[in-house]
């Protein structure tokens, strides 16, 4: 079954064509990476997937639903980490996890999520007092506290220290093993290679290529994902 089907998605902000005809599919249980230059349209695409934005044209199906119409029903099955968001300054880590847990029909035990993401020592710390990486970790944990079928993570490990990054990879590995569909946006090739079954390369609002790392490398006649990416981006420019 396809977990996500995006067909000819288009979205403009005024004169800016942020997404200009994007098509891809993600299979259930797959870990799918999206990579591309700043302003390529990754966040816009992701926000259309989770129902935060309504597409100008094209169709989007997520877990069999239209996210623009069925945002709330889908939200129970989706975990989301936005590239840019925050929480009230004075809310404490444990309170945020408990509150988000109460939003979902079939939530995980928030204490266990807190434990797994190494947030226990920060339980009584206010969001406003967390470091950037600590906030990121909390936002990831909040994406998972609802026990989702699918997670959408925009800039998964930006701002995390090397150990927290590896730890996050391990936890994403656990999600994969449990059959969760994962869509992740990243600027790191090692991360994409380590985690993703397939990748879409976005450039200027279009899909320059999709495939496994091996396929992209073979298609471009290069030696690594990074070189393949640079070749694809350059060819499109």
């Amino acid at each position: 079954m396809e977990a996500i089907e995006v067909t000819d998605l288009r979205k403009s902000y005024g004169d800016t064509r942020a997404v200009d005809g994007v098509t891809f599919t993600v299979r259930a249980g797959e870990t799918f990476g999206i990579i591309g230059h700043n302003g390529a349209g990754k966040t816009t695409t992701v926000e259309c997937l989770i129902g935060l934005r309504r597409a100008d044209a094209g169709t989007v199906r997520v877990l069999g639903e239209d996210p623009a119409r069925r945002r709330r029903a889908l939200a129970h099955r989706l975990g989301v980490q936005l590239q840019d968001s925050s929480l009230p300054e004075r809310i404490k880590v444990a309170e945020a996890l408990r509150m988000f847990g109460a939003f979902y029909r079939d939530a995980s035990d928030w204490r266990r999520v807190m434990e797994r993401w190494g947030l226990r020592p920060l339980a009584r710390k206010a969001f406003g007092d967390l470091s950037g990486g600590q906030r990121q970790r909390l936002m990831l944990a909040l994406a998972l506290v609802g026990n989702p079928e699918m997670v959408v993570l925009d800039e998964l490990t930006t701002g995390l220290d090397p150990i927290a990054r590896r730890e996050t990879w391990r936890l994403i590995g656990d999600l994969k093993a449990a059959g969760t569909t994962v869509v992740l946006v990243s600027h790191y090739f090692d991360e994409i290679e380590a985690l993703c079954d397939r990748v879409a390369v976005l450039a200027r609002g279009r899909v320059a290529a999709t495939g496994t790392t091996g396929e992209l490398v073979a298609r471009t006649g290069t030696a690594s994902l990074e070189e393949a990416y640079l070749a694809l981006e350059g060819a499109d420019r």
Partner: protein, 229 residues
């Protein structure tokens, strides 16, 4: 319901950690009462003031900052409806105001020995309407003014003159005629009248009706203009 309870509990907890809210909704009215030597006649006005401070002084900046800092956006990706969030904000502001008011009334009667309110039930109802109305006006301000500083500032600019001209801070009898006339058109004026009536135990249905009308109109306006982003 579980989601709403969790949201409201969290909002109340946040409010209780905000020193400015605590001061203006609890300590400040008590200080005024002490300055007035426990004069019970001033209390209905102070109750209106507590409601105005929460709804117009605090709420617009709070909502605007949630929007500006993308807290609303993050919540919009969860199953809760945005309306639920506004509802939780409203309930927590009203509840905090009610707590501050109850304390003020108890101190007035128990410590200063003023006469107890004539109609406690009606006083509570009048306060609830007054507080919901102030929140509805705050919601309109947050809908019209987009950034946090602007929304807080406009909230204050609307609130302060209203407190002084509606009879909440000083009796309207003490105001010069022209200022008193302005007060006739301010939404907090019927609130003070309703609270005053309930305090002395005389029924004042008309101001209550006006308050309900303002709530409906302001909520409709706010809902039409409010943007989540």
């Amino acid at each position: 319901m579980k989601a709403f309870t969790a949201l409201t509990a969290a909002e109340l907890r946040l409010l209780s950690r905000d020193p400015a809210s605590l001061f203006f909704m609890v300590a400040f009215p008590l200080m005024l009462l002490v300055l007035k030597r426990g004069d019970g006649g001033a209390v209905p006005g102070y109750l209106a003031m507590i409601a105005a401070i929460g709804g117009m002084g605090a709420l617009p900046g709070l909502l605007a900052s949630y929007r500006e800092r993308k807290v609303l956006k993050r919540l919009a990706t969860t199953p809760i409806s945005p309306i639920l969030l506004l509802g939780a904000q409203l309930v927590s502001q009203v509840a905090a105001g009610l707590a501050g008011s109850a304390l003020l009334v108890v101190v007035t009667v128990a410590v200063f020995g003023a006469r107890a309110p004539g109609d406690v039930l009606m006083l509570t109802a009048a306060f609830l309407l007054c507080s919901v109305m102030a929140c509805a006006l705050g919601f309109v301000i947050a809908a019209v003014v987009r950034n946090t500083r602007g929304a807080s500032l406009i909230g204050m600019l609307v609130m302060f003159p209203m407190i002084f001209l509606s009879g909440a801070a000083v009796p309207r009898k003490a105001l010069p005629g022209s200022l008193r006339q302005i007060g006739d058109f301010l939404p907090l004026t019927p609130a003070v009248e309703a609270l005053g009536g309930a305090w002395s135990g005389t029924a004042v249905p008309f101001p209550l009706l006006i308050l309900a009308g303002i709530i409906v109109a302001a909520t409709a306006t706010g809902a039409a203009l409010f943007r989540w982003e």
